[in-house]
C-alpha cells in the first residue's frame, strides 16, 4: 500500500506523466480533440478497404469487394495500356520489311528495345546475357557468322532454327570422321595440323602437308579449298581467329572426330513474328552485323 502522489511540474503547474528522460519530464497534456477524431476517422477509412477490396476468406474463396478489384485484371489492364502507348509501332514493325526497319529511326529503336528484352528471356540461357556465347554457342558480338551476318540471314536463322524440326531449317551435318571410322586417327591428326597452319598457327610441317590432301578430299567441299568456309552450308571459316569449339590442336582433332554441330530451335511458333524481327534487329546491332 503506497500513498499516491501526483507529480506536478512547478513551472507550468501541470501534472507530469511520471516519465523522465535525462531529467526532462513529460507534461501530461490532453490531446486536441480533432487529433483524436482524426484517429477515429482513419479507423473508419480502414473499414472502407474491407468493403471496397477483396478482404475476408470465405469457405468457397474470398469476399470480392465492391470494386471487384483483382491484381490479375490490374496487370492485364497495364499490359493493354502499354500496347496502346506503343502507338501502333508493333503493327508497323509487322508490316515493314527488315530493310525498311533499318532506315526508320523510331521503328529501329523500338525493335532494338523489344529485341533486347526478348533476347534476355529466350536467347541468354545459351548465348549469354551479353550475347558473348560459350564453347559451342556462338558469340553474336563478333564479325564471324556461321550462317551469314546480314539482318535477313540472322532473321532466317532465328526463325527456322539450326538443325531443328522446321522443314526449312538451317541444316548440314559434318561427318563424324573418327566415331564412324571414316578416317584413321593418323589422318585426323594430319588434317588438324593442316587446319592449324591455315590460320597461321604453328603446326608440324610434315604432318600438315600430309593433311592437305586429306583436307582436299574430305573437307574442302564444305569449308572450301582455302578453308574460308561457306555460309550456305554453315561451314565455319577455318582461317580466322574465331573458334566455336576451341582452336587448340586437341580441340580441332576432337571436332573432326565427332563432327560437332549444335542445334537451335526454330523460334517461329514459339515467338510471334514481331518479336523474331526485333531479335534479328537487336542481334544485328550488337556489332558484327553485315
Amino acid at each position: 500500500m503506497t500513498v499516491q502522489k501526483h507529480d506536478v511540474d512547478a513551472v507550468t503547474g501541470t501534472e507530469t506523466t511520471g516519465h523522465e528522460w535525462d531529467g526532462v519530464k513529460e507534461l501530461n497534456k490532453p490531446l486536441p480533440r480533432w487529433w483524436l477524431l482524426t484517429f477515429y476517422a482513419t479507423i473508419i477509412w480502414a473499414i472502407g478497404y474491407w468493403l471496397v477490396y477483396p478482404a475476408f476468406p470465405t469457405l468457397a474463396g474470398h469476399t470480392q469487394g465492391i470494386l471487384g478489384y483483382s491484381q490479375r485484371a490490374s496487370v492485364a489492364n497495364e499490359l493493354k495500356a502499354v500496347r496502346t502507348a506503343q502507338g501502333g509501332l508493333r503493327e508497323l514493325l509487322a508490316a515493314r520489311s527488315l530493310d525498311q526497319i533499318k532506315r526508320e529511326p523510331d521503328l529501329l529503336r523500338f525493335a532494338m528495345a523489344g529485341g533486347a528484352a526478348a533476347f534476355q528471356t529466350n536467347c541468354a540461357p545459351c548465348h549469354g546475357r551479353g550475347a558473348q556465347g560459350f564453347v559451342g554457342y556462338p558469340n553474336l558480338n563478333d564479325d564471324d557468322w556461321l550462317w551469314g551476318g546480314t539482318i535477313e540471314d540472322i532473321h532466317k536463322t532465328i526463325n527456322n532454327g539450326v538443325r531443328s524440326d522446321h522443314k526449312d531449317t538451317r541444316a548440314t551435318q559434318m561427318p563424324r570422321y573418327g566415331l564412324d571410322k571414316l578416317l584413321e586417327d593418323r589422318q585426323i591428326t594430319d588434317a588438324a595440323e593442316y587446319v592449324l597452319s591455315l590460320s597461321g598457327k604453328s603446326a608440324d610441317a610434315a604432318s600438315a602437308s600430309r593433311g592437305q590432301s586429306v583436307f582436299a578430299d574430305q573437307c574442302a567441299s564444305c569449308h572450301g579449298f582455302d578453308g574460308k568456309g561457306n555460309q550456305d552450308q554453315g561451314a565455319p571459316n577455318l582461317t580466322d581467329d574465331i573458334w566455336l569449339y576451341g582452336g587448340s590442336k586437341q580441340a580441332i582433332v576432337e571436332s573432326i572426330r565427332t563432327g560437332r554441330g549444335g542445334m537451335m530451335p526454330a523460334w517461329v511458333g514459339r515467338l510471334d513474328p514481331v518479336t523474331i524481327k526485333s531479335l534479328a534487329v537487336y542481334v544485328h546491332s550488337l556489332g558484327g552485323g553485315k
Binding site: 500500500m1 500513498v3 499516491q4 490532453p30 490531446l31 486536441p32 480533440r33 480533432w34 487529433w35 483524436l36 529501329l108 549469354g128 546475357r129 551479353g130 550475347a131 558473348q132 564453347v135 558469340n139 558480338n141 563478333d142 564479325d143 564471324d144 571459316n237 580466322d240 581467329d241 574465331i242 573458334w243 576451341g246 582452336g247 587448340s248 580441340a251 546491332s285 556489332g287 558484327g288
Partner: protein
C-alpha cells in the same frame, strides 16, 4: 521511504471520518476532473490590430501573395523549342527553369544548395530576431491572415464574431457564415490553381483547366492544395503551429539571451492592475491589464506569460499595447522586440547595447557566404556540353575474326545550349584505334537537338598489331566530343580491355 511508525501515524490521522466510521484510503482514479484524455479546441477571435507591425504584415502579405500568384505568368524568352515561362518545373521534360538558370535532373544539387541556403538563412534570422519567418512570411501565417481578413469582412471584428457565434441560426447568420466559407473556398481554389501553374505552361494549362482537358494529375494537385489551403488556413489555423509544425520545437535551439524576441517587459509592467484616473503610477507597473494583447493574438496566448512555444511572434500584441500606452499616457514599448539580456539589465536599471554580431550569427552568416560561393563557382563553371561514357561490361571485349579486339560503349552527349549543335567524336590516347558509331557513317557529324541528350552505341577496335603494344589487359583512354564549330572538346575517361582481368576459362 517513510518509517513505518510515521506511516501508521499518517493513517491514524485520517483513519476516522466520523467517530466509528473508518476513512478508507481510496482514490477515484477515474474522477471526472482527471479524465482529460483530450481537449476540445477553444475558438480564438483575433481582434484587428492597428499600427506599425500590422501595416508591415499587410505589406508582406501583399508581396508574398503577389509573388506566389503572379510568378508562373512571368515570361522569359529562351529561344525556340523551349518554354518561355520564367519559373517552370517541367515534369514532362525533366527540366527546372528559373529565369536564366536551367537545371537538368542530374544537376539537382543546385536546388539542394538553394534549400541549404534557405535553411541557413532561417537559422540566421531566427538567432538574430526570433521567429520572423513564422510571424511574417510562413505561408500558414500569410494565408491564415488572409482568411481572417475575409472572415472579418463578412462577420465583423472580434466582438461581432463572438456575438454571431452565440446567436441562434437564422438567415443572417447562415448568409454571413456561408459567404465566409464560399470566399475561403474561392481563395483555396486560386491557391491550388496557382500551384499547378508552376509545373506546366501557365496560359496553356489555364485554358486546359477551364476546358476540362488538363491532365488528371493537375486536377488532383489542384484539389489537394485547395483542400489543404481551406482546412489549414481557414479552419485549423493556430492548431497547425501548435500541434503539427516541428519548427517551434526546433527554434528553441536557435534563440539565446541576445536574440530579439517579442517580449512583455515584466520589469516595467508589473505589478499590473486596473488604473483609475488621477491615480499615481508610483509603486505599480505600466500594465493596466486591459488584455488588448490577448485579444489580438492569433494563437490565443498571453504574451505576459513570457516566451512560449505557441507564440509565432507576429508582433500584433506590440501594436495593440502601444495603442493603449498612448491612451493611458505611458511610454510605448511595454511589449516590444527585446532580448532577454537587455531586459535583465534594464530590470537592474542598466542599458545594454544590442549584440547582433556574435558567434552564433557570425557562424550562420559565414556558412551562408560559403554555400553561396560554392554555388556561384559551380554555376560559373557549368558546362553546356557533357559526355557520359559507359563501358560495356558484358562482354567486356570481343575478339574479331582478324584477331583485332573490339570494345563497346554507350555514349551520351548532352547539349545544354539553347540551339541544336553538331559534334564529332574522337578517341584520345589510344594509338591506332578505330571508332565506329552504330547506324552512322564513319566521321559523320552527330547532331544533338536543342537542350537534348543523344545516346549512341560506339565501338572502338584495335588491330592485332596495335594490341601487342598494350602492356596491360586494361588500358585507360578517353573519348572526346568536340563542337564542330567551336573550340576545345570535352573529354571523358574510360577504358579499353583486351583480355580477362582475372584468369578465366575463355579459350
Amino acid at each position: 521511504m517513510m518509517h513505518l511508525d510515521q506511516y501508521i501515524m499518517a493513517i491514524d490521522k485520517a483513519a476516522e471520518a466520523f467517530p466509528g466510521v473508518e476513512r478508507l484510503d481510496a482514490r477515484a482514479v477515474n474522477r471526472k476532473s482527471d479524465r482529460a484524455l483530450y481537449a476540445g479546441r477553444e475558438k480564438i477571435y483575433p481582434k484587428l490590430a492597428h499600427g506599425r507591425f500590422r501595416t508591415l504584415k499587410w505589406l508582406v502579405m501583399a508581396v508574398t501573395l503577389a509573388i506566389y500568384y503572379a510568378l508562373p505568368w512571368l515570361r522569359w524568352q529562351r529561344g525556340p523549342d523551349l518554354p518561355d515561362q520564367a519559373v517552370l518545373l517541367d515534369m514532362a521534360h525533366n527540366r527546372f527553369f528559373f529565369f536564366f538558370l536551367e537545371i537538368w535532373p542530374q544537376e539537382f544539387y543546385f536546388v539542394t544548395g538553394l534549400l541549404v541556403l534557405a535553411a541557413l538563412a532561417l537559422f540566421l534570422v531566427t538567432s538574430a530576431a526570433g521567429r520572423v519567418w513564422c510571424g511574417y512570411t510562413c505561408p500558414q501565417t500569410v494565408w491564415t491572415d488572409l482568411m481572417i481578413l475575409v472572415e472579418r469582412f463578412w462577420q465583423g471584428d472580434r466582438n461581432a464574431r463572438i456575438r454571431l457565434d452565440k446567436e441562434r441560426w437564422g438567415p443572417v447568420k447562415l448568409l454571413k457564415k456561408g459567404m465566409t466559407h464560399v470566399s475561403w473556398l474561392a481563395i483555396a481554389l486560386m491557391t491550388g490553381g496557382a500551384f499547378v501553374f508552376y509545373f506546366r505552361d501557365a496560359p496553356t494549362l489555364a485554358d486546359e483547366l477551364v476546358a476540362g482537358t488538363a491532365p488528371v494529375i493537375a486536377y488532383l494537385f489542384l484539389g489537394i492544395f485547395m483542400l489543404t489551403t481551406y482546412v489549414l488556413g481557414g479552419i485549423a489555423r493556430e492548431q497547425l503551429c501548435i500541434y503539427m509544425c516541428p519548427w517551434p520545437r526546433i527554434q528553441g535551439a536557435m534563440v539565446d539571451h541576445e536574440t530579439l524576441l517579442v517580449s512583455y517587459k515584466a520589469y516595467r509592467g508589473e505589478p499590473r492592475g486596473p488604473h483609475k484616473k488621477g491615480q499615481s503610477w508610483e509603486g505599480r507597473g505600466d500594465c493596466v491589464d486591459c488584455k488588448a494583447c490577448v485579444a489580438v493574438c492569433p494563437t490565443g496566448i498571453d504574451i505576459r506569460d513570457g516566451s512560449q512555444l505557441e507564440c509565432i511572434q507576429c508582433a500584433l500584441c506590440i501594436d495593440a499595447c502601444n495603442d493603449i500606452m498612448a491612451k493611458v499616457g505611458r511610454p510605448r514599448g511595454l511589449i516590444g522586440y527585446a532580448t532577454i539580456a537587455k531586459q535583465e539589465a534594464a530590470a537592474g536599471g542598466k542599458r545594454l547595447p544590442l549584440r547582433l554580431v556574435r558567434a552564433r550569427t557570425l557562424l550562420y552568416a559565414g556558412l551562408i557566404c560559403a554555400v553561396c560561393a560554392i554555388m556561384l563557382a559551380a554555376l560559373a563553371n557549368r558546362s553546356t556540353l557533357e559526355i557520359n561514357v559507359l563501358h560495356d561490361r558484358n562482354p567486356a571485349y570481343v575478339l574479331l575474326s582478324d584477331g583485332s579486339i573490339r570494345n563497346g560503349y554507350t555514349v551520351k552527349i548532352l547539349n545544354k545550349r539553347h540551339e541544336p549543335r553538331e559534334f564529332e567524336l574522337e578517341v584520345a590516347g589510344l594509338a591506332g584505334a578505330q571508332l565506329a558509331i552504330l547506324g552512322m557513317e564513319p566521321h559523320a557529324r552527330i547532331r544533338v537537338a536543342t537542350d537534348d541528350l543523344r545516346e549512341l552505341r560506339v565501338f572502338v577496335t584495335l588491330p592485332r598489331a596495335e594490341l601487342a603494344r598494350l602492356t596491360q589487359s586494361v588500358t585507360p583512354f578517353a573519348l572526346m566530343v568536340r563542337d564542330v564549330e567551336a573550340g576545345p572538346g570535352t573529354l571523358r575517361a574510360t577504358r579499353f580491355q583486351k583480355a580477362p582481368t582475372e584468369p578465366g576459362r575463355i579459350p
